[in-house]
C-alpha cells in the first residue's frame, strides 16, 4: 500500500488516472485516510454531488495481510444526506484485494459531462476506466452477475445499484462477499450517490499475480495473530454468541430493556420481537438449509453473518443484521422474518442503506401512507424505490426528507441521518453519541467498547451522571482509531474483556509496520481523526446547535421506562473537550 491512485472523472478528453506515492498517509488506513484526505482536500461548502467532492476508498492498515478480521473497507466523502464529512465502512472482499494490489486509496475526483457510465478495472498492471453504458440502471445482483461473465470469479466487485445511479441520498456502495454476492454495503450517508455522481457504476478489483502484504517481522506477526484469534475464539460474544445468532441476537435483549424503538419510536417494547429474534432467525435459517454462521470476508473468525433461504430452500439474502431486522421489522410494526428478508434483499439489490430505508418506511407509515404492520405495503413501497418513481425517490432520500414531504412532526434523525435501533431515552449514553458524532445519528460511531483498557481520558466513574459524557467521548475516540485499523468493530468485545487480546492487536500492528505503537498512540490516532472531521464540519457550517436530538426526545417519555432524554446542552457541548 505504497501508492494512491487518483481518477479525475471530469478531465478534459475523458477520465484521467494518476498515481502518486502514499506520502503523508503512509502507515495509515481506513477512516484515518478517508477523513484526513476529505478534510484536507474537499471544499467543505461544496455540493456533495458536485465536481468538488471526492470519494476516497481506503483499505485498513492490516488489510491484505494474513491477519484475522482485517477486511473492513472505508469510503469517505462529504455526505449528501448529512452535509457533514462521512466515513462509511463495510466488510466483503474489497479491502483485502485492494490492499494486495498495493493501493492505500482510490480517489474519485471531478464529474464527467454527458451521460456515459463507467466501470473501473484495478489490477497490478494499472487502472483502466472504461465506458460501459450496457450497465445503466442495473441493480446490484444482476449487475455483478453480468460483470462476472466478463471478469470472472477471482476478483472483488464494488458497485452501485439503481439508487446510486439516480443519486438518491441514502444510496450505498456494495462490496461482494466471498461468494461474490453484493451483500456487504458501505451503507450510511449516501456514499453510493456520490459514486453515482462521478458516473462510476462498478469497480473491479483484480489481485491476480499479487501476494499477501509482507510484515516487517513475519514471525512476530504470525504469533500475535495467533494470540489475537485465540482471544476472539474464547470470548463468549465473539466465539459463541455472534457466530450462533449474529447481531440480531440483540433483538430480545433490547426489547427486554425497553430500548427497542417500535412503530417510529412510539414505544420501547415490541410485542412481536420474539418472532424477529436472532434465535428465531438462526433456527429458521438452519431449518431451510441456509446457515446461521458465515463470514463476510476471508479471514473472519467471528462469522456473524449467515445465509437466509426462502421457504423452498433457495437463497433469498444474506442473514439480515440486527439494525435491518429492526428498521424493517419492529420500527414498522412488522413481525415477519420473511418480509424483513425480502426487504433486505431489495435494499442490497437497489443499493440503499437498510437503516435509513426502513426508518423512512416507518415514517411514511406514521404519515398514514400505509398502516403500521402492513407487510405487503412495505414491499410495495420498496418496489417504488427500485422503479425510481417520484414516491420511491422521496423514500430513498431518507427518513428526514420523507418526514418533511409527508408532514411528519416526529422524525428520528440527527443531522439528517436516521437513528439506528436503540432508543436514546432509556439508554441516555447512546443518545449523547447520536447527538454529537461527526457522522449524524450513528450507533457505530461510539461502538468500540474498549475505553477502559485504553484509559482514554482517564478512568471514568460509571456511577456518576457525567460518566455518560465521558464514556461517549472515549467511545468515539476508540472507534475512530479502530475504524482506521480496518479491523472489524466486533473485535471490541474481546479486547474489552481480555487485555492480552488488545495487546495482541497492538503487537500485530507493530510487527507489521516495525513500529512501537502503544495504547496512547491508538488514542492519539482516534483524536486526530475526530479533530479533522470536526474541523471539516465546522467549516461546512455545523455548530453546537446541530449536536442535538430532535426536540421530542426531550419532551415525549417512552414506555416502559417513561423517560425522556435529559442530557443538557452544556453537557453535550463538552463531549469534544479534550
Amino acid at each position: 500500500m505504497d501508492k494512491i491512485v487518483r481518477i479525475d472523472m471530469g478531465a478534459k478528453g475523458g477520465p484521467k488516472v494518476t498515481t502518486e506515492p502514499v506520502g503523508e498517509y503512509a502507515g495509515l488506513g481506513g477512516r484515518a485516510v478517508t477523513s484526513l484526505m476529505v478534510s484536507k482536500e474537499v471544499h467543505p461548502l461544496c455540493h456533495p454531488l458536485g465536481a468538488e467532492n471526492k470519494l476516497v476508498i481506503a483499505p485498513g492498515m492490516l488489510s491484505g495481510t494474513t491477519g484475522a478480521m482485517t477486511g473492513r473497507l472505508s469510503v469517505g466523502c462529504k455526505s449528501p444526506l448529512t452535509g457533514t464529512i462521512k466515513e462509511s465502512n463495510a466488510g466483503g472482499q474489497a479491502a483485502q484485494v485492494l490492499a494486495r494490489i498495493g493501493y492505500a486509496a482510490i480517489v474519485l475526483e471531478g464529474k464527467p459531462e454527458g451521460d456515459d457510465l463507467y466501470k473501473i478495472h484495478v489490477s497490478k498492471d494499472g487502472v483502466k476506466v472504461i465506458v460501459d453504458n450496457s450497465l445503466k440502471l442495473m441493480d446490484n445482483y444482476p449487475l455483478v452477475a453480468k460483470l462476472r461473465e466478463e471478469y470472472g470469479d477471482k476478483v472483488a466487485y464494488m458497485s452501485i445499484g439503481s439508487a446510486g445511479e439516480r443519486q438518491l441520498y441514502i444510496a450505498s456502495i456494495a462490496c461482494t462477499d466471498p461468494e461474490l454476492r453484493p451483500t456487504r454495503h458501505c451503507g450510511r450517508g449516501g456514499v453510493g450517490a456520490v459514486m453515482g455522481s462521478k458516473r462510476v457504476k462498478a469497480i473491479i478489483l483484480d489481485d491476480a499475480g499479487c501476494k499477501q502484504r509482507p510484515p516487517q517481522d513475519p514471525e512476530k506477526y504470525r504469533d500475535a495473530n495467533r494470540k489475537f484469534v485465540e482471544g476472539l475464539r474464547k470470548h463468549p460474544v465473539t466465539g459463541e454468541g455472534l457466530p450462533a445468532y449474529g447481531t440480531n441476537v440483540l433483538t430480545n435483549v433490547l426489547n427486554e430493556a425497553g430500548g427497542y424503538p417500535t412503530r417510529n419510536f412510539k414505544s420501547g417494547v415490541f410485542e412481536g420481537s420474539a418472532k424477529l429474534s436472532g434465535e428465531a432467525q438462526a433456527e429458521l435459517e438452519i431449518k431451510r438449509g441456509g446457515s446461521a454462521t458465515h463470514g463476510c470476508h476471508r479471514g473472519c473468525v467471528i462469522q456473524c453473518s449467515g445465509i437466509y433461504n426462502d421457504k423452498d430452500g433457495n437463497y433469498l439474502t444474506k442473514q439480515p443484521e440486527y439494525e435491518t431486522v429492526w428498521s424493517h421489522g419492529g420500527h414498522c410494526g412488522i413481525d415477519d422474518l420473511d418480509t424483513v428478508a425480502q426487504l433486505d434483499f431489495m435494499d442490497d439489490n437497489f443499493g440503499v442503506d437498510t437503516i435509513d430505508m426502513g426508518v423512512a418506511i416507518g415514517v411514511a407509515m406514521d404519515a398514514g401512507l400505509i398502516e403500521f404492520g402492513d407487510r405487503a405495503g412495505a414491499i410495495r413501497l420498496m418496489e417504488e424505490v427500485g422503479k425510481g418513481t417520484p414516491l420511491g425517490r422521496i423514500l430513498a432520500s431518507g427518513a428526514d426528507i420523507t418526514g418533511k414531504v409527508f408532514g411528519v412532526e416526529k422524525v428520528p434523525t440527527v443531522k439528517g441521518q436516521a437513528m439506528p435501533a436503540y432508543d436514546p431515552r432509556p439508554i441516555q449514553g447512546i443518545g449523547v453519541t447520536y447527538a454529537t458524532t461527526t457522522q449524524g445519528a450513528d450507533h457505530t460511531a461510539g461502538y468500540a467498547i474498549a475505553t477502559n483498557i485504553l484509559k482514554v481520558g482517564g478512568d471514568v466513574d460509571p456511577l456518576k451522571t457525567e460518566g455518560q459524557i465521558e464514556l461517549s467521548r472515549n467511545l468515539q475516540i476508540a472507534t475512530a482509531a479502530i475504524d482506521s485499523t480496518g479491523m472489524c468493530l466486533f473485535i471490541a468485545f474481546a479486547i474489552l474483556d481480555q487485555p492480552e487480546t488488545f495487546q495482541a492487536l497492538l503487537d500485530m500492528l507493530n510487527a507489521f509496520y516495525g513500529t512501537e505503537l502503544t495504547g496512547d498512540g491508538v488514542v492519539a490516532l482516534g483524536k486526530t481523526v475526530l479533530s479533522a472531521e470536526r474541523d471539516f464540519n465546522t467549516r461546512a457550517g455545523f455548530t453546537a446547535a446541530h449536536d442535538r436530538l430532535p426536540r421530542y426526545f426531550y419532551t415525549d417519555p417512552i414506555a416502559p421506562h417513561n423517560q425522556v432524554f435529559s442530557m443538557t446542552d452544556e453537557e453535550l457541548d463538552s463531549v469534544y473537550n479534550w
Partner: protein, 203 residues
C-alpha cells in the same frame, strides 16, 4: 397463574428446541418469592454458581437491568429475563455490573421499598440466546405453567413428525397419539403444569 392439571411429555433430546420460542416469549414458573436472584437460580432452579458467574451475564427484572444478583430480590409476579453476553455497545451497557452501566441511566433495577413477601408464587421467566439450549432443558423438566389454550396452539404449530416417546396427563400414562390428536386435553381456560423430559437433562 397456578397449575391445576399436569402434562408430562418425553421426547428426543434434539426436539427440546421446539420449546425455546416459549422461553423467549416468557413462561410462568412456580417459585418461592422473597429470595435474591442468585438464591432463586441456585436453590430453586439448581443452577451451578460457577455457571451463573460465567454465563448469565445479563439479567432483567421488569425491563430493568440488574447489576447485583445478590441484592436484587424476587417479587411474586415479576418478569425475570436471563441472557448470555451481548454484542454491541448497548449489549455491554446492559451487562450486570458492567463498566458501561452509567449509560443506562435510570433503567437499572432497584428493589421496591417494601421487602418482598416470602411465599409460593409465580414469575414470568424468559431465556435468551446461549442460555436457551443450556438452561431450557433443566427448566422444562422442572415444569412451566401454560394456559391450555397456549399449549394447544403450540401443538398445532409443530410438524406432523413430532416424535413423542411418552405422554402423561395428570400422572396417567396415555398413548402418545392422543397428544397429537388433542384427545382429553384440559379446557382452554385451564392452567396446566407442563414438564418435558428428554432423558438427558442437565444433572
Amino acid at each position: 397463574m397456578q397449575g391445576g392439571r399436569s402434562i408430562e411429555v418425553q421426547l428426543a433430546p434434539e426436539l427440546l428446541r421446539i420449546f425455546f420460542p416459549l422461553f423467549q416469549e416468557g413462561v410462568e414458573v412456580e417459585v418461592k418469592s422473597g429470595c435474591t436472584i442468585r438464591e432463586l437460580l441456585i436453590e430453586q432452579f439448581g443452577i451451578a454458581a460457577e455457571y451463573i458467574s460465567t454465563r448469565i451475564t445479563t439479567v432483567f427484572v421488569n425491563h430493568r437491568a440488574v447489576d447485583n444478583m445478590d441484592s436484587a430480590r424476587i417479587y411474586d409476579g415479576a418478569v425475570l429475563a436471563l441472557s448470555g453476553a451481548m454484542p454491541g455497545l448497548v449489549g455491554a451497557t446492559m451487562r450486570s455490573g458492567g463498566f458501561y452501566a452509567a449509560m443506562r441511566g435510570n433503567m437499572t433495577y432497584r428493589n421496591e421499598a417494601t421487602a418482598p413477601e416470602v411465599k409460593s408464587g409465580t414469575i414470568k421467566l424468559k431465556l435468551f440466546n446461549l442460555l436457551l439450549p443450556e438452561l431450557g432443558p433443566r427448566l422444562l423438566s422442572r415444569g412451566i405453567l401454560l394456559s391450555a389454550a397456549r399449549w394447544q396452539e403450540f401443538l398445532t404449530q409443530q410438524p406432523e413428525q413430532l416424535r413423542v416417546r411418552g405422554y402423561w396427563l395428570d400422572g396417567r400414562a396415555l398413548p402418545v397419539d392422543q397428544l397429537r390428536a388433542g384427545t382429553n386435553l384440559p379446557a382452554a381456560t385451564e392452567v396446566i403444569k407442563l414438564k418435558v423430559y428428554s432423558g438427558e437433562e442437565v444433572a
